[in-house]
Amino acid sequence: MTPDTTTASAGMNISQNEGNCVLSISGRLDADAALFLFKKAPEKLSEQGLKDSLILDLSGLDYLDTAGAVFLERLERMAQDAGFSQIRLEGLSQEYARLMELVKKTKKSDIEQGQPKPLSFIENRGQSLSDFLSDTKEFITYIGEITWALGVSLRHPTSIRWADTFLIAERSGVDALGIVALISFIVGLVMAFQAAIPMRMFGAELYVANLIGIAMVRELGPLMTAIVLAGRSASAFAAEIGTMRINEEIDALTVMGLDPVRFLIVPRVIASTVVTPLLTIFSNLVGILGGALVITSMGYPVIAYYNQIASFVTWNDFAGGLVKCFVFGILIAATGCIRGYQTQSGPSAVGVSTTRAVVTGIILIAVFDGIFSIIYYYLGI
């Protein structure tokens, strides 16, 4: 019988000798060879009529690694399943016998015992719900803690870290002017374009001004600013505080008797709350400017556009938008900080926290925007 030589460097040959089956494996039994032989083995074993005893002759083996040893172990079990009553390993050199022994000694059941039992679908849903509820509870607790610390800080303004607050206000406010301007300008421009097409059918292009004015001031200005800040500042807060958590800096603050909420979160919340309305006013203006570009390109004078907006948009609309983004500012800073504060350990933890910060931030912005719409509707604003 000719041995099956493999592309990988080991060969397998089966023969019969004095009533025994002899399966000899020779060459270099590494991962590739083990894979190849593993596919061949079942047919080799099944084509044997004699199912008495099997000898694995390994004297021709030049090399054996763990993959090979695991293969030999599985081969033995496979032979048992195929009906061989007695299986012996022969000719394994001293060098590899140790490895073989190690593989045989490893009890799979021990490893499997250590693994947590996989949860069923229903258990999984339950687990998720319970996690969600406890997360919500924790979130609300933190909101309470922040509100309390904010109250205390505002009563004692000297205890606020003003240097940090100004720095954060600059980074999350002034530095965000560019992106807020871009987004708002494009929103104003695109909205004016899209609205002008149907309006033209009625000869009412100038009323685009009303649409832009009211939409920017009441809804899109605050919303666009808030979403930009959620992506920009909330993620930054979460990453900063999360990294501090991992570096034990939060523990260090606590042990020093410095309350991390007062020390880290309050400056961020104050900065964000001050900066968001300012950015919103800026966003409103730039958005309206975007609309102006479209209207003037249609041949209307800028002053007509201005008068149209000034006569239609009231101070109530403006104030309503500002109150809204004031709340958005608190939400953005608080979610960013809380998610950062909750950072677990491990290399992906900060990434998880920033993602959670942005997602929670945007969800809360959307939910609160809805709540404000309902409130304003009933207040008649």
Binding site: T243, N247, E248, E249, D251, A252, V255, M256, G257
Partner: protein, 255 residues
């Protein structure tokens, strides 16, 4: 020992995360001015015990007294006052990344004293000189080596002249020479300033070099398996775990 000679007194402490105790019913005293070392294998609860002793985790049950005051049942305000007695140098240093070494050391002074800027600067200089970092005062934590970070953390921990300093794994991640230098520093500070040190470590060389007294924790026992001076523990042949811990290096070489 008389009560007033105890810097820390731990009584019937059950400690762990949540309600699952890792350490059960632990009692020990740390005397004033000694270098007290907590040792044990990985996962035995050394760091957990430390977190309880510095008030980061509330005990499941039991009492922790720091300089005669109960930390475990203190309210927020009292706890902060008790914590003024202690300084902690964390494993990674935990320096505030946005501040220079100098500002890190100055921070507790700025927050808890009414001293003027010049005094604060001078005090910070003294502390940095004690740890040999006076030339690196202006560097940011990111620019420091591992050993320097730990020394800077030690300087910050000493800023308010605490009576007790906790060190979490001071020699982790350091080469033997830097680690030995840090040990010498701790020895000098303890003898010259009379500071009580509580050190969590598993570094054998470091344990022998600096400790006055040791407690050893063990995972299975969920508590202390041995207490004593390093010599006593080294010769403790009746407990196999303690014996193996102290003689491991030797046993490995001879086998």
């Amino acid at each position: 020992m008389k009560h007033d000679q105890c810097a820390i007194k731990v009584e019937n402490l059950f400690a762990g995360y949540g309600n699952v105790p890792i350490i059960e019913n632990v009692n020990f005293d740390v005397f004033k001015g000694e270098i007290f070392v907590i040792i044990g294998g990985s996962g035995c609860g050394k760091s957990t015990l430390l977190k309880h002793m510095i008030g980061l985790l509330p005990p499941i049950s039991g009492k922790i007294m720091i300089m005669g005051e109960d930390l475990s049942s203190a309210d927020h305000k009292d706890k902060n006052r008790i914590l003024q007695n202690i300084g902690v140098a964390f494993q990674s240093g935990a320096l505030f990344g946005s501040m220079s070494v100098m500002e890190n050391v100055q921070l507790p002074l700025k927050e808890f004293t009414r001293l003027d800027k010049i005094s604060i600067r001078d005090i910070a200089h003294v502390k940095l000189q004690l740890v040999g970092l006076e030339k690196s005062a202006h560097l940011m934590p990111g620019e420091l080596s591992g050993g320097m970070k730990k020394r800077a953390a030690l300087a910050r921990a000493m800023a308010l002249d605490p009576s007790i300093i906790f060190l979490d794994e001071p020699s982790a991640g350091l080469d033997p020479i830097t680690s030995a230098e840090l040990d010498d520093l701790v020895r000098n500070l303890a003898s010259s300033l009379g500071i009580t040190f509580v050190i969590v470590t598993h570094e054998l060389a470091s344990i022998e070099a600096i400790s006055d007294r040791i407690i050893m924790l063990e995972k299975q026992a969920k508590g202390i398996v041995a207490t004593g001076t390093p010599e006593q523990l080294k010769q403790a042949t009746d407990n196999e775990y303690v014996y193996n811990f102290f003689n491991r290096t030797k046993a490995e070489i001879t086998s």
